[in-house]
């Protein structure tokens, strides 16, 4: 098969599942699930085939899809080291999640819909990855948003799920506003192709950036800056960076495997991927890259802080994703061609692993609360414990684990003159990461070692538990356990694949090599030991109080638990600004416009009433009137 056929198969196969589901196959759940798994396997095979057979010079195949005289939009695939590597991650994780869901969703009545939308999700994400035209990326990007809306709101009979789905869609949409505007401006400033039309083929954009064709002023600023900042809005929304991050923790309302996919390889990864794709454009403006670095480093610390105190396992993981995504963006914005992306790959592995383990824990404990899980399940679930250990170690940055290897590359990139502030923030973030990762593992796995503290049940997980309590059956459990163990093994090795990845991207393997003797590694390990040790003291050691050191600072702890009050801010925007605009528009419509128009109608009516009052119906009144008019006319005529 040729590369373009593989591409079509990879993107198209999962889409076929969704379309067939819509066309009525959905009435037969088993068939839909079988179809979904088959297409997932096909897509995964396609991603591997494309990655392996990728020619040195890359590959591109496009076809014009929508064209007018001034703009043309293409669909197609563009295979580069970056896109095939990313595709590999997406295809593989998607297949794993589908397998895991086979167990997790075994008894859900709407199973068919779940698998169909999951397929759409994968198809859309693969389309983001392989897109040849930036408009195609945008289309797929929006479809990723749509399918995550449908998946987060999968249990839409739960008001909280419906609310979370809406929030996710609106907040990312808010960022897409900038993205769309940026795309439009980019389109308008691209060099004109033969035939007089402009297009947004990614290859051409990168070429234009390299040739400095985009230099120029836009609204008084450098064009790269304006376009870059606008595109960055979309990335901030999609990758859940400050201030558009608060949808991601709420997105836990979806089924856990969805979170696993959404947090690792799709949706949030789309933002980072777009940054990696257009990295030269962003780096062409120092303002844009500094803003990106600033947002990312702030978010990294901020989100890690919330993860340190949150009592709910899935929410801790969600805040951790936000923080880790910031690390990726920092690597990319600091100019490294491989660091951020490498971290994306390893993070996809260990975060997916953590979520899949969390699924088993929550399923067994019937609760999402960390303490509760520790009390009821603890280390009794072998597979989940293994997953949690490997995942948490990786997340915390234990040397030689996947997360350490990639984060070290990012830190090395930041450890340069000019980036000092960001570097220290990143180190602080690392220490905090080590703290919450250790805390999570310790609370769950060493529960028997300490006094049981008061437990807190969160509203959201209670409801998910209702769903979970439905499933019984050994087969479902063993499928889930096997998936987790398999992924744990993969994750263990993932960190050592840096050189291969760099090679695949066409870069020097030196870029990901770690200088074990450097001060950077020393500092990173210090951060790990500081954070991890503190958490161990608070939670892990025998006889620990099981209260974070932050409980000594109630004001800060409360703020962190509330997610830095960001939700409150957004609620203020929605309740005050949006609602205010709505009310004033309503007021104008009803009071000003409609009333003045009704006023015209009323005016006509009262004019009629006035005129009608002349019509007394009395014959002699008419005659007198006639006479009077005649007399006046006569006088006027004589006057002349």
């Amino acid at each position: 098969m040729s590369l373009s056929q593989w591409g079509l198969l990879t993107i198209g196969a999962p889409l076929v599942t969704f379309v067939l589901f819509l066309l009525g196959v959905g009435r037969r759940p088993t068939l839909t699930v079988a179809l979904s798994l088959t297409t997932a396997a096909l897509a995964c095979a396609g991603t591997w085939a494309m990655a392996i057979t990728l020619p040195e010079a890359g590959y591109q195949a496009t076809t014009p899809w929508a064209a007018t005289a001034d703009f043309s939009i293409h669909l197609g695939i563009r295979l580069t080291g970056l896109s095939t590597a990313m595709g590999l991650v997406v295809g593989t994780i998607h297949l794993l999640v589908q397998l895991y869901s086979l167990g997790y969703m075994a008894t859900d009545p709407a199973q068919a819909r779940y698998f169909a939308v999951l397929s759409l999700f994968a198809s859309a994400m693969l389309s983001v990855v392989y897109a040849a035209d930036l408009i195609q990326t945008f289309i797929a990007w929006e479809l990723v948003g749509l399918s995550s809306y449908l998946l987060i709101g999968f249990w839409n009979f739960k008001p909280s799920a419906a609310q979370a789905a809406k929030k996710a869609f609106i907040m990312t949409r808010f960022g897409d506003l900038g993205l769309f505007l940026g795309l439009a401006l980019l389109m308008l400033n691209m060099p004109v192709e033969a035939g007089g039309a402009r297009n947004l083929l990614i290859a051409l954009i990168l070429e234009a950036v390299a040739n400095n064709d985009l230099a120029g002023n836009l609204f008084g600023y450098d064009q790269h800056t304006v376009i870059g900042l606008l595109l960055l809005c979309g990335i901030v929304g999609k990758s859940a960076q400050f201030p558009l991050h608060s949808w991601l923790p709420d997105a836990m309302e979806g089924p856990t495997p969805v979170s696993a996919l959404l947090h690792s390889a799709t949706m949030v990864a789309a933002g980072v991927y777009l940054f990696a794709l257009l990295q030269p454009l962003f780096l062409a403006s120092s303002i844009t890259s500094t803003v990106a670095l600033g947002i990312a480093s702030f978010t990294a610390v901020m989100a890690a802080g919330v993860a340190m105190v949150n009592p709910d396992m899935k929410r801790v993981l969600a805040w951790s994703s936000i923080s880790q995504l910031s690390f990726m963006l920092m690597g990319l914005a600091a100019g490294s061609e491989v660091a951020g992306f490498f971290h994306l790959v390893t993070h996809a592995g260990f975060k997916c692993l953590l979520f899949l383990s969390a699924g088993i824990f929550i399923h067994l404990a019937h609760s999402g609360d960390l303490t509760e899980i520790g009390r009821k399940v603890g280390s009794r679930s072998r597979a989940a414990s293994l997953g949690l250990l490997v995942g948490a170690a990786s997340l915390a940055g234990v040397p030689a684990m996947a997360g350490f290897m990639s984060k070290e590359v990012i830190l090395a990139q930041l450890h340069q003159p000019g980036y000092e502030g960001f570097y220290w923030l990143a180190l602080l973030g690392s220490a905090m990461t080590a703290y919450y990762a250790t805390r999570m593992a310790a609370v769950i796995l060493r529960s028997d070692s300490a006094a049981v503290s008061h437990h807190r049940d969160t509203e959201q997980t209670k409801q998910e538990v209702d769903h979970d309590s439905n499933h019984q059956g050994g087969l479902a459990d063993s499928i889930m356990a096997m998936t987790v163990v398999g992924l744990a093994l993969v994750t263990l090795g993932l960190g050592w694949l840096g050189p291969q990845l760099a090679g695949h991207l066409g870069l020097d393997a030196e870029l990901v090599a770690i200088d074990w003797d450097s001060m950077g590694v020393g500092l990173a390990v210090t951060a790990l030991l500081a954070g991890g040790g503190l958490a161990w003291y608070d939670y892990g050691r025998t006889g620990a109080y099981r209260e974070g050191f932050l409980s000594g600072l109630p004001a800060i702890e409360a703020m962190l638990k509330d997610g830095w009050h960001m939700d409150r801010c957004w609620r203020w925007v929605s309740d005050k600004i949006i609602a205010g605009l709505t009310l004033s528009a309503l007021f104008i419509d009803r009071r000003a416009i409609d009333r003045s128009i009704d006023g015209v109608a009323d005016g006509a009516r009262s004019g009629g009433v006035l005129a009608a009052s002349l019509q007394s119906g009395r014959l002699q009144w008419y005659l007198s009137l006639t006479l009077a008019v005649l007399a006046v006319a006569l006088i006027l005529l004589e006057w002349k």
Partner: protein, 493 residues
């Protein structure tokens, strides 16, 4: 086939006329026969418009399938029908909405005969406007399309129907009162003493001082029907009061008459005036988009939400026209088509819900996705189209219009794009409150759409998806005509 080719447009026009005659001949008590004849007639006209689409030659901007007949030579009135790329999508839209609208009203029981008779008259008028190439006939058909609306709403309507019907009729007649002198003015001041649109557009008349007056009369006259701000309040009220299929025809097709009129008469005959007034038109269009979306956000009645969303989406059409670029005009025509199908889908879904729950209050509904999965899916598909989700037809339309708008007026473009976020807010708000959430006891036993009643909805959704996946189907048909129009506009000072 040759005969059909040369009389295709008249055949399409005659379909509803024949339907009207048939309906008149069948006794009122035989409602089944009336519905069947309406379905057959509308099916034929839909099939003919698809045939027209398929036989249309996209390579030329000249009128095709033309037929001419002298009517009143002394007054310069000729019966001319013909279509180009700009009217072709409108004819197809009318055919589809007509057919699906008839199917949607299959369960009607009250005064069936009169209902279908008025619908036929209305559709005859709509088809007539889209294919007429003579201003006099265009106006005649325009009036024919507007007047049955009054009866359809006043007799079969719901909430405040007399008020709505009266408001709508008065608004539209006020528009006509502006249009008629404008059309006479076109014929008179061109010095040609003709109503033939092609002759008038080719004449390159220097309108002098009269240009401003005639163009503004045309813009306002047609614009009222297109729901331009601030003359839009009749339309949501009308949508709400009208019965389901009438809302579908009204929002889906009738509002397009206005924007089509601006495009066909305003832009084509008076390009210089269009160039002069484009900023004003664009500003009002942006008002439509944002203001309509915000007002929709504040509504409590499902139909009002959709009614105001139409106001917002028609703003996109007018904005596209005002950019006067190939992308903008193609996008505008595409949006007219996509919006027509989309609102028809919206109203047909709401119609089903209202028929069974007897309420349209967003807060009283809830959990409908569990009770009526089909009706809800239909609504969600329409909603996604409404907020410009890709793979549904309106995405492409909005994409083209917004890029064109950003090119010409960056601020207006940015505001219009912001309108999309507000659209997302109001659509998702409705979805969340009315369709998601726990099932309500009140609606537990409500039936979902049956297979037959689902058919028209499936057709509409399929059309949205088809053009969403394959926008080139539409854009290729438009290209030649749009390019010709853009050249005329660019040549104007």
């Amino acid at each position: 086939m040759a005969w059909l080719d040369s009389h295709l447009l008249t055949s399409i026009l005659l379909c509803p006329v024949i339907g009207l005659a048939l309906t008149a001949l069948i006794p009122a008590s035989r409602t089944g026969a009336i519905k069947l004849s309406a379905a057959i007639v509308s099916g034929i006209s839909c099939a003919l418009s698809i045939l027209l689409w398929q036989r249309f030659d996209p390579s030329t901007s000249r009128l095709q399938f033309t037929e001419r007949m002298e009517w009143l030579p002394d007054l310069g009135i000729t019966y001319i029908v013909g279509i180009d790329g700009l009217s072709l999508p409108m004819v197809l839209l009318t055919g589809i909405v007509f057919f699906t609208g008839v199917l949607t009203m299959w369960e009607l029981e009250n005064r069936v005969k009169e209902y279908f008779a008025f619908t036929m008259a209305l559709v005859a008028g709509v088809f007539g406007v889209f294919i007429s190439q003579d201003l006099f006939f265009l106006f005649l058909f325009y009036e024919l399309a507007v007047l049955p609306m009054y009866l359809l709403i006043a007799i079969w309507g719901s909430t405040r129907r007399e008020y709505a019907a009266m408001k709508l009729t008065l608004f539209l007649l006020a528009g006509s009162a502006l249009l008629f002198p404008a059309l006479i003015g076109l014929s008179h001041y061109s010095g040609l003493n003709t109503f033939d649109l092609t002759l008038l557009s080719d004449a390159n008349t220097d309108w002098g001082g009269m240009g401003i007056i005639i163009f503004l009369f045309l813009y306002l006259g047609f614009g009222v029907l297109a729901g331009i701000f601030p003359f839009h309040t009749w339309s949501p009220v009308g949508h709400v009061a009208a019965p389901t299929a009438v809302s579908m025809l009204h929002a889906g097709v009738l509002m397009k008459l206005g924007s089509y009129g601006v495009l066909r008469v305003g832009m084509q005959v008076m390009p210089e005036e269009m160039v002069r007034w484009a900023p004003l038109i664009a500003a009002l269009a942006v008002c439509n988009i944002l203001y309509g979306a915000f007002v929709a956000l504040g509504q409590t009645d499902l139909k009002y939400v959709i009614g105001y969303s139409s106001v917002s989406h028609m703003g996109v059409v007018m904005l596209g026209l005002a950019t006067m670029s190939a992308a903008g005009i193609s996008g505008a025509v595409f949006q007219m088509f996509a919006h027509g199908i989309m609102t028809a889908l919206f109203f047909s879904s709401i119609g089903h819900i209202y028929d069974h729950t007897h309420t349209r209050e967003i807060s009283r509904l809830g959990g409908l996705f569990t009770t009526m999965p089909r009706a809800s899916t239909v609504f969600i598909i329409a909603g996604m189209a409404g907020i410009g989700v890709p793979c549904l037809a309106s995405f492409w339309a909005e994409l083209l219009v917004f890029i064109a708008a950003v090119k010409k007026w960056p601020l207006a473009g940015a505001l219009a794009i912001f309108g999309l976020v507000v659209s997302a807010l109001f659509v998702l708000r409705v979805v969340q409150r009315s369709f998601f959430g726990p099932e309500r006891d009140d609606w537990k036993d409500m039936p979902d759409m049956g297979n037959f009643m689902a058919t028209p909805r499936v057709i509409l959704a399929a059309v949205l998806l088809l053009f969403g996946f394959a926008p080139f189907l539409m854009l290729d048909q438009l290209a030649a005509s749009v390019d010709a129009l853009v050249q005329v506009l660019e040549a104007s000072p």
